[in-house]
């Protein structure tokens, strides 16, 4: 008779015999996170630049985008893509929904980071560029964005951490991601304890190094008197 302790040794053994599923869930989560991060960086860069333009039209577009994606729960956005778009005839794979859904959602947050980064650059940089004859686009491309990247690296990394954790919403549409794999293993085997602990550990394994890097890098920037972009933590 096996022990009924939820963390009994035999439960761990059983879990590792079924590691394949959890392992491929982990891999899936990793893939979704990397691609969604890439998408969110591209979208965020565009939104951030639009939101600091002199003309009000791009500024409004960026504003509307950010407000919509930040003020509707990610879960609803994912459901919308899964069910809503499917009803309209556009059926996307769970993988695509993960990348696009999480990517667009975090694109709004990255956009705010980029915006704060652009605005944190000293006025003198814009003035020097203008006094040489650089136009707005050239000023952004050669002067502002390259030096901004360094100062927004910490908040961007925090975004990456949030993004990785948020890929777990895929579980809800059977996305075959880490959370889903752990959850389905747990409910079929009743090995809830080890399954969730392992899943948590694997998320931690992805996120902790990033969070640590972010913190260390920010300390380093502060020590060098570089510009530090502080984003109020409004997520989750």
């Amino acid at each position: 008779m096996n022990s009924t302790n939820p963390f009994a040794l035999w439960r761990w053994e059983a879990l590792f015999q079924n590691f394949d599923n959890v392992g491929s869930g982990f891999l899936r989560t990793f893939q979704v996170a990397v691609l969604a991060l890439a998408l969110s960086l591209i979208v965020g860069m565009i939104i951030g630049i639009l939101s600091t333009a002199q003309n009000w039209v791009p500024r409004s577009i960026a504003r509307v985008y950010v407000e919509i994606f930040q003020n509707i729960p990610l879960l609803i956005q994912i459901f919308f893509m899964y069910n809503g778009l499917a009803m309209a005839g556009l059926v996307l794979s769970e993988f695509t929904i993960g990348v696009v859904g999480v990517g667009l959602y975090h694109g709004a947050y990255v956009g705010e980071v980029v915006r704060a980064g652009i605005l944190s650059m000293p006025k003198g940089q814009h003035e020097a560029a203008y006094s040489q004859g650089f136009n707005y686009t050239q000023t952004m491309r050669y002067i502002i964005l390259p030096q901004m990247v360094k100062s927004i690296l910490p908040p961007l990394t925090n975004q990456a951490v949030n993004l990785i954790k948020n890929t777990s919403v895929l579980a809800i549409i059977a996305g075959a991601d880490l959370m889903y794999a752990a959850d389905s293993y747990a409910s079929s085997s009743l090995n809830y304890g080890p399954a969730y602990v392992l899943a948590g550990l694997l998320y931690f394994l992805l996120c902790f190094p990033l969070a640590t890097f972010s913190r260390k890098y920010e300390e380093k920037l502060k020590k060098n008197d570089s510009i530090v972009v502080d984003i109020p933590e409004v997520m989750e």
Partner: protein, 240 residues
Amino acid sequence: MIKLQNVNKYFGDHHVLKDINLEVAEGEKIVIIGPSGSGKSTTVRCMNFLEEPTSGEVFIEGNQLTAKNKLEVVRNSSAMVFQQFNLYPHMTVLENLTIGPIKLQKKSKKEAEETAYRYLDIVGLREKAMVYPSTLSGGQQQRVAIARSLCSEKKIILFDEPTSALDPETVQEVLDVMIQLSSMNITMVVVTHEMGFAKQVADRVIFMDEGTILEVGSPEHFFENPTHERTKEFLSKILR
């Protein structure tokens, strides 16, 4: 070369420049002095439209500056040196000097670098070409900024208090570079309180007070017999 005609500037309802009229000839060296808040910076910033006048006209080499053509005129005609240097911190000294000529004047990298080294020699910083600005002293940074303003070989260089942010020991090295420039055929408009510099290079000194040009004259005029009471008062303070 530069002409300001009835230039007025308001910030909100603060009347900062009041009917400024000024003509600067090609190659002329102008020094602008005056108390804090009198409108010196605003005046030079109107010359490249970093500030656009509320009314009045600005002409550069005969072309009227407008919101539409300002970038093109600036690109072709003028450079600026700032109190806070405003070097690009993510670029080496050499890149700071060549980015403008390469991207704006469409010079080749090689040509731009040769020019850059030539001007680095003039400001005495050739050996700093590969370092980043943050490793330099204030005086060195300002000399790099001056070299940058020279690299695009414009006819006009505007200086807004180039030595005011410097440690007293490094002021002279920057002034020496500027004195050297004055022998080139560059039109210089310099906001500064360095009267020694004014005496040595200025063709005309302009005294501004409360948004107007109160008095114009040679440096000697200002040292020997300034007309206005306000001018005397101001000079007695800075020459003390």
